[in-house]
Symmetry: C2
Subunit: 222 residues, 2 copies
DNA sequence: GTATAGTAACTGACGAGTCAGTTACTTGTG
DNA sequence: CACAAGTAACTGACTCGTCAGTTACTATAC
């Protein structure tokens, strides 16, 4: 596969430090994303960059450091996209829709990064960066949920506190469903994206709407 | 730590094959659940069972086989619980509630098994059993969603097909939110269980309710 | 006394990390 | 322009710890 990647015409080997570093990071993203941390060897990364393992070690002093660097880039990239999209929207509904769209976009045009994310986000041993991302995502979510209500002066502090509490509980629900939706869609390419995306938006939006109305279905009593 | 576990009085205790196997499986569950597949060594499992590694190999011929056996048990256990709880309920709402309750129960009284589950369910390389579980869970979910409608003779086959399609899309959303909710709760022990549980039930129930009413909020057009 | 439960000590492979050396590119100097 | 001296990019071939899996031997129950 990819006998000649096109840009390297056989001989173009030596590269300035910074450029090589970029390339190595890209290669590592691909390998870690496709194979996962443990099944990826430094050899694999080096080979993917058509370079020796020793050189790789001149840029990153250890495997976990390399992984951390890759994770950090991924996290930064996704966070930037999310912030840009969500902050651009006026109300919460549009914010939710934007968020879902960003995730579907990201998974579509950065499949390796997406894979890296979902594969390691629940592994405490590798990648605290990814944990951070999850929490930051949660924060962004909660803020989005509470945007309107925090600005509302008629709400008593107590009422607001209740809302905060409920928002925290809603976050993992929405968050989990969104990630799961995207992952499911990736595994079912026959399903049109708009369909899956629209369903996710509806679903999550409904959850947010709940917070507003505060109604309860009361299923607890069997 | 645990110098003497109490039941074993220092000396070499012989055990019948089947019993030892059970014990080894329990030990492996603990180790795999807490450390994860890759950070668990066969030594760890053997030590946890106060037994030599060689003996462990007389029961399970390879590490992945051991892991597969443990996974299979976990899957069987959880599936049984879910089936029992869901099938006992009459309507879909109660079914959802029961499902959520089962998951919270399971996470509470089988923490290692729960951990094993969430840590490896998205790793294709280890444990196809866990993948299976996920899909089976999805099936159960879809069936639950469609129980009523399938029995309804007034629905045209076409209308039913639409429902089936929508149900498939809803499954990952509900599924993801439920798992995420439980995991979140485990990481936030200060939150009372009933609160988190009730929120999850409401949230998922609302999603199911959507299927019934078929209304759409139409967020797609920005 | 022989089956089976058990172990301590061993092996071999794999993979992270290193090092001594080589190759290409840059920069004075005549 | 040539041609050395200097330096940064790069490599092949190693070390060395770790860990899955084995072997050869011992203890115990019936």
């Amino acid at each position: 596969m990819a006998g000649t990647t096109g840009d390297d015409a056989g001989v173009r080997r030596r590269m300035p430090h910074a450029l090589r570093r970029e390339q190595l990071l890209r290669a590592a993203l691909g390998e870690f994303g496709r194979r996962g941390y443990h099944e990826t060897q430094m050899e694999h990364v080096a080979a993917a960059a058509r370079v020796s393992k020793a050189l790789l070690y001149q840029h990153f002093s250890a495997k976990d450091e390399l992984f951390a660097a890759v994770s950090a880039e991924v996290v930064a990239g996704l966070t930037a996209r999310l912030n840009a999209a969500v902050l651009a929207e006026q109300d919460s509904a549009a914010g939710i829709a934007a968020m879902v769209r960003v995730l579907y976009d990201y998974a579509t045009d950065e499949p390796d990064a997406w894979n890296l994310l979902v594969r390691h986000i629940d592994k405490p041993e590798v990648g605290p960066e990814l944990r951070e991302l999850r929490d930051r995502l949660g924060e962004a979510f909660a803020a989005l949920l509470l945007r309107r209500r925090r600005a509302d002066p008629t709400l008593s502090p107590a009422a607001l506190a209740v809302n905060e509490r409920r928002a925290r509980l809603l976050v993992p629900l929405m968050y989990g469903s969104m990630l799961s939706s995207v992952s499911w869609w990736l595994e079912h390419p026959d399903t049109p994206r708009e369909e899956a995306e629209a369903m996710a938006m509806d679903f999550v939006w409904l959850g947010l709407d709940r917070l507003r109305s505060g109604e309860r279905t009361d299923l607890r009593a069997r």
